[in-house]
Point group: C2
Chain length 341, copies 2
């Protein structure tokens, strides 16, 4: 199935899940980038219906999302969870609306492009009404790997993540704050959004466990990276860990190549890559850090160095704002790519 | 030089740096393990002289450490920083006292054994008065690697650390608390113990930078692991990161072997290894976490799984209390080994 509806120059845009952490950030990004929307519609569950959200100098009144919400809408940015996306998919596309989905519902479907515009915008040419936004921890990794793969074929990637609370939503961010305050005050701790205490802790589990002992988050990093890079056999070992950080994910990455790649070559390529900022001055103790990069758009790379433990290896440290490039920004960038911007 | 002084059955023990985070923990461990000391002496800088520290139901009065402090002392447990260790080394050994040093001052010296008793207690037979305690992040790694190396030769190790504030001392632990409270209250943040803000942040720098772009902490993990395991060519890639956690270090580890090692074999060996506890029940969401393991003695291993990205690979997650096995406990265990306990 190929989509044959032409996108208007000024599309009507719906944000589905507008009151969540990612939904709010989508509205912020649409406004900040002056996305040429004819109109923006904020959709959420009945519970949030009637709420007002500031937008572009005015405000949007949140509407309850129903199957008829997509009539007259051209692009729907979804961030309301995988089951909601699955439930509304047919209603969205039947209305002639393109769904850009931030959930994991369709990412690995053959007929759904999984897109990071800097990396594989070309895949958008063959969508059938649904385009998937990759997992947050995948996005910041592939932006960098894709650039480096131009220097030599990738052989193996070992990545350990340091993921922020924001990846689990607004309630999780609130829980990190509240629980930390309770801990400092010696009050009893309540864990709802996370399976264990997150305050002053590291939780080596994100999403559910699979049969092979990995988590679904780790599996996503492997298969999504392979799909986006068009490298189905790329070897990737991932460990995904939640840390008590608000909204930027960090990743320690060891990349093995098939041929020699020098630090200088890698740095030069990354400096020239759109969407990447190199922040790497060890003499000045300068490197990417979550506390430094909240609200930023790029994938930040530092700690770039040779990995002498393999023939052709590099190590690096990648940080990006999970709510921006890891979610809302990338979704809006996909919409921009559909407009040919 | 070989040490020829016989250790008495009930040695006099000095703790140098007794008011620091590790020094206090050394006293706690000596007491908890009923170390057969004839007497325990608490030494610190002039500034702390006269302070009282509770010990074994009574208290110790802190004495100023001078070159004459070691007369009549049999074992001195040092945790006062590398420059202090270097300054007092000759005075200690000239007094016939064995120095067990927790700093990095002598770890890589050829005539100084670097010891984790479960792994290489045999190296103690050739000391010359000084024995070094390894770096905290190294200790918990080698305890596990040493056990696994019995199954097949180690080929390459990739490790990313999630290191607690305690590794930087008591002032750093205090800074994490104070700064987090200030952050939640919207007060200005003060960073002294860490080079950057630690509250709700990850800092990918521990210790100073070296010429090759690695940090000294990362270098320590490589060379100390090689020395302790007697594997000078073992290939190790390390990334060391400070996280806002109080006192347990976590490590995401990918181990590549020269021959096949199954998860079941690895689990069986680790279950049988002294000093290791396997905490690995994904169905029950059970795995090691810093918040769970403060004050414990073992190296805890979980998230044990096959690494399909290499021929013979395993991945795992290791957590240990940095102040216990990572520092004070291991130092006292070395002293116990000297007594032949």
């Amino acid at each position: 199935m190929t989509w044959d509806k032409t996108m208007p120059e000024r599309p009507v845009v719906a944000v589905a899940g507008a009151t969540g952490a990612v939904g709010r950030e989508m509205l912020t990004v649409l406004e900040q980038r002056a996305f040429p929307a004819e109109r923006v519609v904020a959709l959420a569950s009945a519970r949030s219906s009637g709420k007002c959200i500031p937008f572009a100098g005015g405000e949007l009144v949140v509407q309850e999302m129903t199957e008829s919400s997509f009539e007259g809408v051209d692009i729907a940015l979804f961030s309301a969870g995988a089951s909601i996306s699955a439930r509304f998919r047919d209603a969205v596309t039947a209305a002639g609306c393109v769904m850009i989905d931030n959930s994991s519902a369709f990412r690995m479907d053959d007929d759904v492009p999984l897109v990071v515009p800097e990396v594989n915008a070309g895949d958008l040419s063959r969508h059938g009404g649904v385009i998937a936004n990759p997992n947050c921890s995948t996005i910041q990794l592939v932006v960098v790997l894709s650039a480096l793969a131009g220097l030599a074929p990738l052989k193996r990637v070992v990545v350990s993540t340091y993921q922020a609370a924001s990846g689990a939503g607004q309630a999780a961010m609130d829980e990190l704050y509240t629980q930390t305050g309770d801990f400092l005050a010696g009050r009893p701790l309540v864990s709802d959004a996370f399976v264990h205490r997150i305050a002053f802790n590291c939780i080596p589990q994100i999403d559910v466990f699979l049969e092979d002992g990995s988590t679904k988050e780790e599996w996503k990093m492997v298969v999504e990276t392979q799909k986006i890079l068009h490298e189905p056999a790329l070897r990737i070992a991932a460990t995904c860990v939640r840390v008590p950080v608000l909204r930027c994910h960090s990743e320690a990455v060891a990349v093995e190549f098939d041929a020699a790649v020098s630090v200088a070559e890698a740095r030069a390529v990354l400096l020239a890559t759109s969407g990447v900022t190199v922040l790497d001055d060890t003499a000045a103790r300068e490197y990417p850090m979550p506390a430094l990069l909240e609200g930023t758009d790029d994938c930040y790379v530092g700690r770039l160095r040779a990995d002498e433990s393999v023939a052709h290896g590099l190590q690096m440290w990648i940080v990006a704002d999970q709510l921006r490039k890891g979610a809302a920004l990338n979704t809006v960038q996909i919409a921009e790519a559909l407009l040919g911007r």
